[in-house]
């Protein structure tokens, strides 16, 4: 058993760059050390959208880019003994496994062992109304919502079990993101399920890698302040994990981006609340004693991660539908644009109010204030800076029906004739809204199941 294990990441979300895994796998193969690849493809509401897809088509509901992501790397990974893990099963892990099996057969790999982990879907087995609500969601009003999906964040143990059964590809639905990196480490080094110190190192590795390029220069570069090489080809991250002690974050060879103390700190604190208690299903990670050291170009070592006993309850995220988002936009530009934009915003809000089309409505002046603003437009209403040359007015509403949302959005279209002088460029659209709420569920109520078979047997 090697004392150094490499973990590579191939995706940080559903929608990531599909060619990113290729240089990562090439680097892992060249290094010749034991290694694994993982893909994180499942944001909070992605699974609900997948569930809606699955209702429409029983063979849909998994990561739509799955084949595109795996096709260029599957044969190389198989040849080099690099297992691939991912939550790309989304709402339909079995169909995802069949997709991987079809791909494997097409690539001449009928003996590829594909493992599936199920059990995360608790929508039929658990009465959510009886569960305590996760604290970050305490204030949300969920009356009148219709349940679409409810999935528990499962941990690394069943994924490691699939690897122990020889799986070369492990397909999961909802897992905790770091667990996808913990599992191959657990399997390789033989960590016990209560080895908190090592599991915490694994959780730190997973946390730093789970968003792909976010640790290697993505959502980091700030021209003139934090520049990175070749942002059109940011290399995805790799962790070098020794049996004990500090691990190193680096990235795929011959790529852009960078790994330095700044990029690692930003990702270390990303979506983290109390640094002494980052909750995962496998371990509670404590980074208050962490130290970082740059060890050559694009190599940062992290030491001092501590672990505490895992929580007794798993987080369950439930997704609901029941309302619609309507959005409409128009533009104004040139002299007096700000006054025309403000007047347009007020008229759009007034039209929606008079027609009773929305539960909530908001207007933004894009080019003055939008993403930092509030629903009541506090910032654009009080703006007293220089006259902006070009402003886009956006109306957004939440409505009870698709028709109401559509009618509200079309108020932007009507401004082409009814609006202020020089109004143009209308766009409008309606999308169903997925609302989420998280609960806490005793872990014994989430039994998991592992199925491993060869590609030729997945039909």
């Amino acid at each position: 058993m090697s004392d150094l294990f490499l973990v590579g990441n191939g995706a940080g979300f559903s929608g990531d760059r599909v060619d990113a895994p290729i240089p990562v796998v090439r680097t892992l193969v060249d290094r010749g050390l034991p290694a694994a690849m993982f893909f994180e493809c499942l944001a909070e509401r992605t699974i609900a959208l997948a569930q809606i897809e699955k209702r429409r088509d029983p063979e849909a509901g998994y990561e739509p880019m799955l084949e595109r992501l795996l096709e260029p790397i599957l044969a190389d990974c198989t040849r080099a003994g690099i297992p691939i893990l991912g939550n790309f099963g989304a709402a339909n892990p079995m169909a995802a496994a069949r997709c991987v099996a079809r791909l494997a057969r097409r690539l001449g790999l009928p003996a590829l062992r594909i493992g599936v982990v199920t059990g995360d879907d608790v929508s039929a087995s658990v009465d959510l109304a009886t569960l305590p609500v996760h604290e970050a969601d305490a204030g949300l009003d969920m009356s009148a919502w219709t349940l679409v999906s409810a999935n528990a964040y499962i941990g690394a143990a069943p994924l490691a079990q699939a690897l122990a059964q020889g799986a070369q590809v492990v397909v999961a639905g909802r897992t905790s993101d770091p667990s996808l990196a913990i599992a191959p480490l657990m399997h390789h080094f033989g960590w016990a399920e209560d080895d908190w110190a090592n599991l915490a190192r694994g959780a730190a590795v997973g946390h730093l890698l789970e968003c792909g390029s976010q640790v290697t220069g993505g959502v980091f570069w700030d021209p003139g302040f934090k520049d990175i090489p070749d942002p059109a080809n940011i290399g995805f991250p790799i962790a070098e994990v020794p049996r004990d002690g500090a691990f190193v974050i680096t990235k795929a060879a011959d790529t852009g981006g960078l790994v330095d103390l700044r990029s690692v700190k930003e990702q270390l604190l990303y979506e983290l609340h109390d640094p002494a208690a980052y909750m995962t299903p496998d371990v509670v990670m404590d980074i208050t004693g962490v130290t970082l050291e740059q060890r050559g170009q694009d190599r940062v070592a992290m030491a001092g991660v501590r672990g505490h006993a895992r929580p007794d309850r798993l987080k369950v995220t439930a997704c609901y539908e029941g309302s619609w988002l309507g959005e409409g936009e128009v533009s104004v530009a040139g002299p007096n644009a700000l006054a025309r934009a403000r007047a347009t915003a007020d008229v759009l809000l007034e039209r929606v109010r008079r027609r009773g089309l929305a539960r909530r409505a908001r207007a933004d002046l894009i080019g003055v204030s939008a993403v930092h603003d509030s629903d009541d437009g506090a910032l654009w209403r009080s703006y007293d800076g220089p006259e902006p040359p070009d402003i886009r007015i956006r109306l957004a509403v939440e409505s009870a029906s698709r028709d109401d949302a559509d009618q509200a959005a079309r108020e932007a279209l009507a401004m082409l004739c009814c609006g202020t002088a020089g109004t143009s460029g209308a766009r409008w659209r309606v999308t169903p809204r997925i609302l989420t709420r998280s609960f806490l569920l005793p872990r014994e109520m989430v039994p998991t199941e592992v199925t491993v078979r060869e590609a030729r047997l997945w039909n």
Partner: protein, 115 residues
């Protein structure tokens, strides 16, 4: 020592994250020697004030002196969170740059672009 007023962006970097209706903002000075000065000036109250207009109710700062980083956790800042918000940026990932517009007073030698 002469102090001058600059936006945090001139001396520090930040990233925003979300969970539900709660956001977090990291803050790291480029020069670790500025850490105590930021600790003194970038208070929970000042950061909360930046997001009052969005209904933020509480700001908690966690200090990580070993890596010269702060973590601000802000409750109720996302107008319902990614799935409930009408904001184009439902995740609130652009909010790190609202924090970086906050001004601080630093020794004049720090008031330059780090590039």
């Amino acid at each position: 020592m002469e102090l001058i007023e600059v936006p945090l962006h001139a001396v520090a970097h930040s990233r925003a994250g979300d969970k539900g209706n709660r956001g977090n903002l990291s803050l790291m000075p480029y020069d670790p020697s500025l850490y105590p000065l930021l600790a003194e000036q970038v208070t929970e109250a000042r950061v909360l004030e930046l997001f009052r207009h969005r209904g933020a109710t509480r700001c908690t700062r966690f200090d990580l002196p070993l890596i010269h980083a702060f973590n601000f956790v802000i409750d109720d800042v996302l107008e319902g969170g990614v799935n409930g918000s009408l904001n184009l940026d439902g995740h609130g990932k652009s909010l790190s740059f609202r924090l970086l517009a906050l001004t601080v007073r630093v020794p004049a030698c720090h008031a330059r672009s780090p590039a």
